[in-house]
Symmetry: D2
Subunit: 438 residues, 4 copies
């Protein structure tokens, strides 16, 4: 029985590019086969619980704007159950294959961790039934280690080891729940794993604590036989002044330092990428190059604003460039596109939640079509191959194989009076070419 929250909004259907129905997909045709794979299997969309069900419209200068039935006072667990019902109604309206959650989104904090964990389990049991009924699966779960004041100075990186212990206990519970629900990944976002001021901080200590924590989680994964991936989500700042998981390159160095680079992958977010001074496609390409690409938090940052706006991605050419990198990386395995995106606080109506997702799913689907065409067409790959062709010649190979010393190079230049001539990078041509596909 429907909660009635979404009124008469029916499940969204694919109607084709000519449709003017804003509650239809114009491009997202989940069974359409692209590069040998169904669109749904390429995109693996997930709706997140926190923004869509838990965000109440607050910002630093104002309070709640969304008046949801489950924000009312009273029996918190009853509210959580109502929220779960509406959540799956949303997932079904959208027809997404996955969802994601933090423990604190789905169930209220109790008076003790035991009680909090019990609340989480109770809702997880409801999820299990709904997963069975709907076929909508869990992409990943994660523990909220940043909202409660006990985590104000970090969780694993907290100066107080008791907070580390508490965080570990909380993670164990969410990990177990995630595994039992068939979750395909487990995510760690280091919300407050960073510092507010160096004046009271020992970087060395905190990095070691973080390395230990992550190692424990990896060990537990192996012990429990969890088949999914462990993912870290880079973010440079906010809420902390500096966050340890700054960007993909920083996370890679951290993983290398603690011997975890084969164990942990990254969950890349567009908005976090631009806050770190990178393009989205850079972070994706780098993760692929370093062998740690895992999953994506799909959203869009506001180029004029310096904080995490988590808007729905709508710019097709930008999404196309990102999708090209994902296709080049081989596409998702356990990962997917999780909508870490929230409707603006002025978007009060339940249908606004639907518009945000439908619009962005459609933009992404269109980007997939364009990206696949780019990959199939092959001109970009050919340009790149041509540009680096010299490295596949004997001298290039010898250099890379370590067969040339600095002196050898110098001798070669002297001997051949080498004077390399630059060739055009053809950037404008290539940028124009992107527009042919999207």
């Amino acid at each position: 029985m429907s909660s009635g929250f979404f009124g008469d909004v029916a499940p969204i259907k694919f109607e084709g590019a000519e449709s003017k129905n804003p509650l239809a997909y114009r491009w997202y045709d989940k069974d359409r086969v692209i590069l040998g794979k169904r669109m749904e299997d390429h995109l693996r969309f997930a709706v997140c619980y926190w923004h869509s069900l838990t965000f109440a419209g607050l910002d630093p200068f104002g309070g709640m704007t969304f008046e949801r039935p489950w924000f009312q006072p009273g029996d918190e667990m009853a509210m959580a159950r109502l929220k779960a019902d509406v959540a799956f109604e949303l997932f079904q309206i959208l027809g997404v294959p996955f969802f994601t959650f933090h423990d604190r989104d789905i169930a209220p904090e109790g008076k003790s961790l035991a009680e909090s964990n019990k609340n989480v389990r109770e809702i997880a049991d409801i999820f299990a039934k709904k997963i069975d009924e709907t076929g909508i699966n869990l992409l990943w779960g994660t523990a909220n280690l940043f909202s409660n004041r006990r985590f104000m100075a970090g969780a694993a990186s907290n100066p107080d080891p008791d907070v580390f212990l508490y965080a570990a206990a909380q993670v164990k519970n969410v990990f177990d729940v995630t595994r039992e629900l068939g979750g395909q990944n487990y995510v760690l976002w280091g919300g407050r794993e960073g510092y507010e001021t160096l004046l009271n901080t020992s970087l060395k200590r905190e990095l070691d604590q973080l390395g230990r924590f992550l190692t424990m989680v990896v060990d537990y994964k192996h012990k429990t036989g969890f088949k999914g991936a462990i993912l870290i989500e880079p973010k440079p700042k906010e809420p902390s002044s500096h966050q340890y998981d700054y960007d993909v390159a920083t996370v890679y160095g951290f993983l290398k330092a603690y011997g975890l680079e084969k164990e942990v992958q990254v969950n890349v977010e567009q908005n976090h990428a631009i806050l770190a001074g990178h393009s989205f496609e850079h972070e994706l390409a780098l993760a692929a190059a370093l062998g740690i690409f895992g999953s994506v938090d799909l959203n869009r940052g506001h180029y004029q604003l310096g904080w995490d706006t988590d808007q729905f991605g709508m710019n097709v050419p930008e999404l196309t460039l990102a999708m090209v990198e994902i296709l080049r990386a081989g596409g998702f395995t356990t990962g997917g596109f999780n909508f870490d995106a929230k409707i603006r606080r002025q978007s009060l109506d339940p249908v606004d939640l639907v518009h945000g997702h439908v619009g962005s799913m459609d933009a992404m689907a269109r980007a997939l079509v364009a990206a696949a065409a780019i990959v199939e067409d092959g001109e970009f790959d050919a340009e790149v191959a041509k540009r680096y062709a010299g490295w596949d010649e004997p001298m290039g190979k010898a250099i890379l194989a370590g067969d040339m010393t600095l002196e050898d190079c110098a001798a070669h230049v002297a001997g051949s009076n080498l004077d390399p001539k630059p060739v055009s990078g053809r950037q404008e041509y290539l940028e124009s070419l992107v527009n042919r596909f999207c």
Copy 2:
């Protein structure tokens, strides 16, 4: 015999804090002992050749403003010799112990690399004499692998292996010259080791090329018995859209990936730090925590501008926080404070070169006094120690030693009904405390 370039500017002397002579040091008293070491040995100031002698006042919207005698047309090597004379006059006026250079700053590019190298050697011979005469030593040398059009798409990371070879040959020459001049370090700044657009770029290839290049340099260091450090200078962008040596954390990950983290250290620059979204002290503290702190390019970026302004650092409280991190890291060994700072293009007069250095040396000296007082006073260290005290207790040690699993943590929390209470981070108190010292 003096070139007369600086007119009647005499060597700068220490006159004490009450002096109103702008051509005197008010704080930089090189023989004053601070924390058991002479100020000069703490600060190890170096003047750089490129900004002070070679920069002609150009910017992207305008041409030369500095009319130096050595910018005149005619015999380029004669001009280079004149420049060398003036350079050492500047170093002597300032009384700095070190200087630094790029090969192309000191001598003109020839028609071939052989000729260019010969030009460099000829000036290096002059340097050798001047070093003997003045006791002013070489902090480091480096090769300019970014100004000539052959390097427009990178040096080691160029799509053309011929450019890699050429760069290697050029580096070998500067390395040799640096070693022979008694240089204390060799620096690599990856000026165009990055990309302009991902559309024509293979990240994986370019990173591997870079790794190979750096390994060659390290091998050559060992082969030649060079005792100094190899330094990489992180910068996030400019001139490239993205530079591979983005920041300290990125360089660390790169070094780990190629097994070079024990071989190479970082040369941290304030302006590069803020362009990467970090504070100066963050980059220093992180380099120390990761064990790769080497040297500093001292300057100041403009907080309202998005490019490398390379101004002279003048803000004492900011410099103090940086100096505290350096003292905590044990101070410089082979490194030093190199002034990678340039006078504004409106600062036309020779004496402006002197004002910039004197002002910033004095600000840094004052910062050293403050930083040493902070370290000696010990209150900051005590605050930090107290904040992390729990990690020195048995449970904290057990966690860090790897003796606790995720399940152990969960059991401990359940068994003790642990509910950690946050304590104040005291940021405002600590910030106020900084002001007591500077």
Copy 3:
């Protein structure tokens, strides 16, 4: 009778620069005469109610961290009275001459505007008594037109005129209260007077609405005989994507457009300045040059963060440059330094509130001493006068008087074969000179 909130913290006293007591002033000696005026009269410090009494430590990723007695559930007006008691205890501990408030900080929102207004009046009556008793006066009052969801799309610039009416009614009440309490200014901060997306916005309509609103407030000022200033506080963004009162220059254009440039002044904030891409001293100097300098919201933004961090200003050289501009503008008349600064959410202890204010008051006092010395010394003014001296010569005067046409200029250049020679801007010298004073 004390609330006991601050424990045994006694009123802060001036102890001199050598004091190591963190709860003493080292520089703020309110009766010390500088440039003929008492320090207190120069600085006119005010403590703000919202950050110091109402901020609970929330941020976009976490909830309350400050557990204040007055945040407890129960009788909201009783809590508001307790808060007022603690507020004046804080003001008295600090020994500040002023405070500031938003209506919603001091009293709870009622079920109707009438009830809200009644709540505000009731607390204002308490303020009136406390003002009498303590001699601590109201620097300014303002209406909170941004926190309640009714203002989510703006107040005066709302697409719904009912919100404009409501906002006007609310402002009238706070204006009346401010006037009756002897407030020296009335401030409007356009919290949500901006837009989130241009897609649903009419800029022209919203600017006209804003112009009308401000005109009404100015008319009411004259009608009621209020002697203070009306102040607008520029801010470029946050919470809106674009705020109409972007910066000083934008506000000036807006005032000119609606004929209000003689009626309204600006309340300049450091953090808002840097979010708009300006230095603090730029905004102050520009306001003075345009004749609209009024007051200051004193705080410090974090140069690495893209949002309003509202930290306590501590950097003496930066504050000195700001103070120089204020002294040059003639100092404050009705305005003052309002601490629109908040302690970090990890600064849990009541004494942290005291440390933030004491540290920043002291830094500002020290900056005043330095700025006054700069002004008295006169070298900066002399440098500037010398640089522009030509404009005080006959030709310069003729140009500015409008006596020269474009053709006259061309004729003059042709006739004299004019070829102006650039002279040094002496920036490094001047920057060094600042350090002599602070």
Copy 4:
């Protein structure tokens, strides 16, 4: 007779969206009628001389990369004539109706202003013939008042009135040439009208000087009967630390201050907009709302870089939003889209110049089609109209007419117990709707 510079590149033709020919237009069909006007008349494309003909590939870290025949040493006027030939070959290949220039782009600086002016006139005479022959007209001319070292501290805002005189004389010459060539506008870009440091600057003086200068130009326009518009081009920073023409709002305030708001319009640039913290469409919409919209410098800034990259605009959805604002403003009158865009310094080949323009013209043409469809469809306008409908009701009108005082508003709220309810801003729906059109 062709210079041969572009080899066998033939004039670009429209071939339709399905064409895979990179040297064809897929969308730019100049005679296609959109909203009752030919595409060419909507877009009024102009190619700029400086980036396309004069830029040699320099950046702050490297020298010339473009080896053009006209960059060779020798007879500078002969080189300028060759450049003019190639320029018109480029214009004709592209089939653009307009071009633009700075005086120093087209002819070498002479030993005196008289000689420089003579050089400019000589090339202008060539232009006159080419305009006659090709039908390609001058969109605007402007004087380069920033490259020569005499302008290092500004032109009109220079501390030396001789520089003001010189600048005025130079502007007169370019103005005359522009008028005589049938130029449709005259542009002033305040390249160095700003400051490097406030320490040596009098804002008030410099603003007054600028106001005087602009008034002279306006007076001269009227005197000479020039029918075109005078345009100011806002830019916030670079090369100066702060530029007086910061953004549209700042320029508006400046024009109001000197009574020039009916005389002068703005030339809005995308890259300058984002450097000022605005979106491109914001600056356009604001210029229209303030009645000062004139023309556009079309390019694209790099969102991850903090300087003026002047890339070719390629992102169709972004260009569409800009074009919607231009259509709403009534389209161009004397203005047009000037490509203030440059090929990257690695784009060495002559054909790269063609690719950049063709790609961006096509993207803009496609954006025009989308924007026109948005305007014709009317749904956006209807949404906006509905949102503000209350302001067209009697109370809304009364407020705007000045018939309501603050007391009236308060009485109305009290009398009606008004409690406005927020309605959804529908941002996600509207963003999705944009994608339906492009």
